[in-house]
């Protein structure tokens, strides 16, 4: 990469998301192939069932993501008069991004954090903890708002729903197959087995079925990290001011309090992961490390002309 600016970073992260989603598709194909090898044609019927169940589960939470996440986090929607300065800043970002005015909500929590959700821009909600509104100045808050609006513009609720559906379906598939094996014994004993004569293929298939859920979760986390990096780059496209978001992330880095809510179910929606970084390994992290994000923003600051 010759020069680092928001345009090159946006392109790179979009490209990597596509690559990771393609990786998900490859993983599904491999799993289906393994099911065919191990159980023969009889076992394949389970694949659409797993996908249907995962889709039903994820689609429900995707469709009502705005109300659901708000209930889970206890966020309250604000009116203009409740916080004119915050609304002014959000309005500035709607003009910079060209998207509609989202609902603005606040979460009673002293830990500084923020999130965006909603299935599309008509149902978008961006929420801030009372802590972040207290500690950040206008410029920093503008960076945070831009990051959240970038999630709305990039349709990240949809992207994460797609990732969650595939990861969920693979997990369910693996689980169901394990139960089937438990009750029926090794697939080798079954009559309608096409590949019964090849123990190596059988072992390989078993390993694939066992490890696929792990691979799916890793891919899902990687997609989430790419979308966070993309939201940072898009935020700079909106504000043309990498320093604002960089200072905001530094405030988050200095801050040691963490949002009380530690539910992994909604961890990915926050701007800073509410989960303890030591308990979550880097590969499973939903966010790139703050140091990395700050370093990239610094590089963007160093090339002011390419950010115009």
């Amino acid at each position: 990469m010759s020069t680092i600016n928001f345009r090159s970073l946006q392109r790179a992260n979009q490209r990597k998301t596509v690559g990771l989603l393609a990786g998900m598709a490859v993983l599904i194909t491999v799993v289906v192939y393994a099911v065919l090898t191990y159980f023969g044609k009889g076992g394949i019927g389970i694949v659409p069932i797993a996908f249907a169940v995962a889709m039903l589960m994820v689609w429900g939470s995707y469709y009502s993501s705005d109300t659901l996440v708000m209930t889970m986090t206890g966020a309250k929607v604000l009116d203009y008069d409740d916080n004119p300065k915050l609304f002014d800043l959000v309005q500035e970002m709607t003009i910079a991004s060209g998207i509609q005015m989202p609902k603005v909500a606040v979460v009673e929590d002293s830990a500084p954090n923020a999130f965006a959700t909603g299935r599309n821009e008509n149902h978008a909600v961006i929420a801030f903890t009372t802590g972040i509104l207290d500690v950040m100045d206008r410029e920093e808050l503008q960076g945070v708002i831009a990051h959240e609006m970038a999630h709305v513009k990039n349709r990240d609720t949809l992207v994460s729903a797609i990732a969650a559906t595939t990861a969920g379906a693979i997990a369910m598939l693996s689980d169901m197959l394990m139960r089937v094996m438990w009750f029926t014994g090794s697939g080798r004993d079954r009559e309608n087995n096409d590949n019964g004569g090849n123990p190596l293929a059988m072992i390989a298939s078993l390993v694939v079925i066992l490890l696929a859920p792990l691979a799916a979760v890793l891919l899902r986390s990687a997609i989430s990290r790419r979308r966070e990096a993309l939201a940072d780059a898009t935020a700079v496209a909106f504000t043309r001011n990498p320093a604002g978001l960089r200072q905001a992330l530094e405030v988050l880095q200095r801050d040691t309090t963490v949002v009380h809510q530690r539910s992994t179910a909604v961890a990915h929606v926050w701007i800073e992961s509410p989960l303890d970084s030591s308990s979550v390994s880097k590969l499973f992290a939903t966010h790139p490390p703050l140091e990395e994000r700050i370093a990239l923003l610094r590089q963007m600051e160093a090339n002011p002309t390419t950010n115009q």
Binding site: P84, K85, D88, L89, Q91, E92, M93, I95, A96, S97, G98, R138, E139, A237, F238, T239, R240, N241, Q308
Partner: protein, 184 residues
Amino acid sequence: MTTTIVIVAVLALIVLFFVGGYNRLIRLNVSVDEAFSQIEVQLKRRSDLIPNLVETVKGYAAHEKSTLDAVVAARAKSTTATTVADVAAADGAVTQALRGLLAVTEAYPDLKASANFLSLQEELGTTENKVSFARQFYNDNVRALNQAVKTFPGTLFAGMAKVGAREFYVVDDPQNRQAPNVKF
């Protein structure tokens, strides 16, 4: 039989390619228009704030007549501009005059402490930011359109769609090109 299907499929693809390319240019052109009207909305809002601001400042600093007159004159001129270049020039003049006025107010602590002035200052600050972001959004849209018009396959449809490269919104003031950054 199969050749007919292939021919129909290829024709369908060509039609889709043309419709898609044509519509894309039209869409980009419309979004430039929309972005420009957003600039005008924000300029209008700023314009509406000026009489109130001038009245408030007059109450405390009546003898700063030349600065006040400059703002009023710049505002009056801006209402008649229509082309992109004229609107941009008038916008620059108002920004300049307002900056002069705000600099003058520094010398009047009573004015700066008045509640009316403080709320006006916040409103003016955010409006100035909104104008800047509207300019930026417009220029981003012009950039996307111009790129599409000048590169393949956009060049094929530009004539047919009667869509050409559009003018950037350039304000002749180096300070305006920086990221909006109003502190208070």
